[in-house]
Symmetry: D2
Subunit: 277 residues, 4 copies
Amino acid sequence: MKLCGYEVGEQQPFFLISGPCVVESEKLTMEIAESLKEMTDRLGIPYIFKASYDKANRSSHDSYRGPGIAEGLRILEKVRTEIGVPVLTDIHEDSPLDEVAAVADVLQTPAFLCRQTNFIQSIAKLGRPVNIKKGQFLAPWDMGNVVNKAKATGNQDIMVCERGYTFGYNNLVSDMRGLATMRDTGCPVVFDATHSVQLPGGQGNASGGERQHVPVLARAAVAAGVSGLFMESHPNPAEALSDGPNSWPVHRMEELLKILMDIDNAVKANPYLESTL
Amino acid sequence: MKLCGYEVGEQQPFFLISGPCVVESEKLTMEIAESLKEMTDRLGIPYIFKASYDKANRSSHDSYRGPGIAEGLRILEKVRTEIGVPVLTDIHEDSPLDEVAAVADVLQTPAFLCRQTNFIQSIAKLGRPVNIKKGQFLAPWDMGNVVNKAKATGNQDIMVCERGYTFGYNNLVSDMRGLATMRDTGCPVVFDATHSVQLPGGQGNASGGERQHVPVLARAAVAAGVSGLFMESHPNPAEALSDGPNSWPVHRMEELLKILMDIDNAVKANPYLESTL
Amino acid sequence: MKLCGYEVGEQQPFFLISGPCVVESEKLTMEIAESLKEMTDRLGIPYIFKASYDKANRSSHDSYRGPGIAEGLRILEKVRTEIGVPVLTDIHEDSPLDEVAAVADVLQTPAFLCRQTNFIQSIAKLGRPVNIKKGQFLAPWDMGNVVNKAKATGNQDIMVCERGYTFGYNNLVSDMRGLATMRDTGCPVVFDATHSVQLPGGQGNASGGERQHVPVLARAAVAAGVSGLFMESHPNPAEALSDGPNSWPVHRMEELLKILMDIDNAVKANPYLESTL
Amino acid sequence: MKLCGYEVGEQQPFFLISGPCVVESEKLTMEIAESLKEMTDRLGIPYIFKASYDKANRSSHDSYRGPGIAEGLRILEKVRTEIGVPVLTDIHEDSPLDEVAAVADVLQTPAFLCRQTNFIQSIAKLGRPVNIKKGQFLAPWDMGNVVNKAKATGNQDIMVCERGYTFGYNNLVSDMRGLATMRDTGCPVVFDATHSVQLPGGQGNASGGERQHVPVLARAAVAAGVSGLFMESHPNPAEALSDGPNSWPVHRMEELLKILMDIDNAVKANPYLESTL
């Protein structure tokens, strides 16, 4: 499939979706986008900037949720035009859909909402590529039904994204088998390496995270075989206003990407063995 | 707390929420409500009728979703006035909130949406008692944050409901410890004994269910200690248009309720031992 | 089935297996046995004393393992003859089988060993009733194979015991559906309410436990329907040399048993609904 | 650490343990060993032959368990001397330890037995390198206690092996984070890519398996970072007498190993990012 001008798919080099969890300030947002754009240009990795403008599903109602829709979209638009990078943002049931779709090159639906038929279809109808996050409660093979609902709208540019599966309380596990299974949907499979290391609710009023496992899971997922990678990044994760514990530092991103590219090349040099049994 | 005129709580006899998963026909809906009303009157159980008018989160987009909002609410209103029983229905992000709240005595939020802050708060603001289903991905102690969000609207009539927790793929487990844990929210705890026996996605394009486990889990939950029970029921589950595999037959409901009452009486004759350690 | 002179089974009142995790001193062991014997006589509950003489599978190799075989069996024999109560102890691959079977009225096999065919069969061959603990990794329906192996030795006095199932890391869940499922083995089903509240490995060098959930799970299991209950008990759990965090205080046992008896009576007054669907 | 003459460790190229689940015939055993020896010589991969002589923990007591100890050890000895490859076999509580250790270059302990202190220590005392399989119920960080018990015997040649973790009923999940976590034991970490795709008990009287996931998990684990790989192999898995569904075909092994080597090289070219955060 064609995504923001790039050919993407299970035998293509991986693309990257990265940026801060949430828009904090215009300055910081521009800086992150610029760093990542330069880095991925250097490496030849197709890159899409990501940031949310409103986090509607924080653990606690006291948490920072973002700058709001107007300011958030203005900044995303600026990233898009001034840095020259396509942007992805997530969208919720009560988002002003057309306004968001007017700015975002790619839309992303939250994992908790993957079974809301009306919602998935109204997002798909906007005609933008959609990255559908798989619910933490949904088996990989059950994404087929979700994709069918989305594609029934006529939009064929659908991606599916793993972000960890419920594993006891306050923990997620990333089942690498699921990445291979989801290829059967015919959609590009994306692995979200930063939300997958979250410990949901693990800090009382917020979700914890284990940043040290980001490179472990990212390497494993690329080796399992994915079309794209999603990784939230921040210049200073310890001070990020959302998802800091599981964000990856911008200044450590390039060395991570290099290793991932080497793995990706090794894996995609030939067809997947599992599909030739 | 006072619920539809009944005093409910952890030391009160349990109340029952029951009815078909979805409104099928007016005639059938009235018949079920009438049977259950008579039965619970006979047994002295506080009773609330339940039915959905639109199932937005079916596994497949070909499944029956209900009669739609107008017809659905008309029938619920009829149940309310002609049978004289309070009614509960579930509500979604795109429901016409005021219309639904005008008819329903109690509102119920879907498990998948328990972390959507805006949604939970906009429902709580309607001023009706709300039964918040705990997500299949949420630890029992994390319902405290959800309740806080809801009560921050001023509405103090909040209930929390267990309906099974993600347990590997296509299966749910009901952790009885969680029922005790959720009492710490200060809200009445409800156990949903029919969705808890679902096998999500377990039938390809639909969710399966193991009806034979309904009485097992209902007995266990009442013994663990709950304020209310939720059980979907149908005169002929094999022909139900939604959730048939996990619905309980109306004609077997009375004998089940009698046993549950005996257990409930035994358990609530004294304070819970676990709170006096 | 006949167990130590008592008729036990799914429609009989529950029997109790209880005592300290491990034999600490002769004096303490006798005191516990005497207290529990008097209590269960008063309540009319068939009672079997339980203690281990050597805990071979402690988390850390520095933990107390018991007084050893000779001293342990001597004390168990004394409980048996002086208090007049049958005794159960657990047995391992390297136990002197005949020596243990000469003293113990009932043998119990550890959960981790439930799939060791040779072991299960050599224990069953001893001709004593055997309580086989289900592994924390074994589905309830897979106990059928384990029972078949045991009964193939000719010994028909086999019981199956649930003690919690692996649920993410360092946690166990008790699936009440499994108690009903295991009745299909034709064996009496026992619920272990104290090991089920363990948090395996949850304290670094030892397993943690949540004592407050013992009555919750015990009530739930009796309501689900069991033939027997297993609960480790100690006069002062905070000072127990093993499994303290999940032991139940002896002086709170009688009030717990009374509630459980009331639930048991309610549940067994009629056949299980789930078997008449 | 030095293993059968090879330097192994987290920054060394991976070694391979492979062979049939169980010794079937002498002829077949020799053929497999010869094929794998030639292949790994060609690729420069340190190789250890693996086969069991007696499977004591089959699901059903009717399953094939192997040729028995005498014949089994004779064949392993022949593999060792005639093919010139070190051999690994698994050992149980009732194995004649000295006899087995006299033949096997490496010993392996079954996952279910990882918490049996006496057993682990009596195996470690034999002085051979030991590959300790992590129980399907044990958190990765809890292997530290197991390793301490083993090393307390004086034997420092201990390896730890992941073979899947209990994930609901009849399923296992391989948590790639655990491979990184287990490096903290200081022991070489081995990933068992064939038992990890088992569906325990999933076929009623036997365990099922999903062979197509072997290359997926093997790639992912090598990318996560391991010292060694364990993969059962058979010339004709459909006719294997044990573990056929999850065995990897010998004639597809070389192409799999080549990809794994490329990934391994990419990953080990630099220190793990997760250890430099």
